[in-house]
Symmetry: C2
Subunit: 159 residues, 2 copies
């Protein structure tokens, strides 16, 4: 990877390191790395990270509508259409037309969807261990709290 001696990558000027001090920039950077790793983990069950998080939200909110998911995941309702279609085609979820509102469909996990979640949870926990390796319990708790803090500020911002 590193070539001996004659490295010609003309970057001898001292970096200004502005970006590394910006929480927003670092969150984007780390988030992107996380997605890259999660892609690999979820490929075992044929899902991408975004699709898996929708599956998890349906697991946590059985019977919900797509509009509920749009709010929970902070995405437009149109974004969900291909994800729901994929989860349905894989038979990880089922859609039941609501009796109260015939426009909408209650979403539920199937046993196959539940199995898919159970299948990747060990890898997900292991990934969690990896990225928090060497962190104390207090540091990890503080990180989760700070992330929640930032999330709430961002939600206040654009809603």
């Amino acid at each position: 990877m590193t070539k001996a001696g004659h490295q010609r990558s003309s970057i001898e000027a001292p970096p200004r390191r502005d970006l590394q001090q910006l929480v927003g920039y670092q969150l984007r950077r780390v988030g992107s790395l996380v997605v890259k790793e999660l892609s690999y983990i979820f490929s075992g069950i044929g899902l991408a990270p975004g699709q898996f998080s929708i599956l998890m939200l349906i697991a946590e909110h059985p019977g919900c509508f797509q509009m509920d998911l749009a709010r929970l995941a902070n995405v437009d309702r149109s974004t969900l259409v291909p994800m729901i279609e994929r989860l349905t085609r894989l038979k990880f979820i089922k859609r039941d037309q609501s009796d109260d509102d015939r426009r909408a469909f209650h979403l539920h996990l199937t046993s196959r969807g539940r199995k898919a979640i159970d299948q990747v949870m060990p890898d997900l926990r292991s990934f969690e261990q990896t990225i928090t390796d060497g962190m104390g319990a207090r540091e990890k708790t503080a990180l989760l709290q700070s992330l929640h803090h930032v999330e709430q500020a961002l939600l206040r911002q654009h809603n």
Copy 2:
């Protein structure tokens, strides 16, 4: 392996809240929100978040090659091509063919590129204030350190 109770899917079942306790999931979630806000900020200079971060890396590493950026930004070299093309077309950067290696091009900011950065920096700092609003200096430092910690663990993971 899996968690004990294989909870039967019931509409009244309380949410399991698993996701919120996962650092990886929260990083992806918050990162996505950050990108959404940054999109708005950078639209003022005609750039998307990824394009702006490449512009910043060139500012911090004047004369670098695209291969250097690929390493610094942790992306494939092919990913950079449309970004570099966009920055060049907007005249934010210039490409000078290297005398030492005629395959490669030294990348430099133009004065227009520098102006573009100067133009959005106030908004970027203000965004920074918003998402860390109410955080103490220690909490903010700890967050940056934890993010760096996670980033390093992720880089060790896949390299």
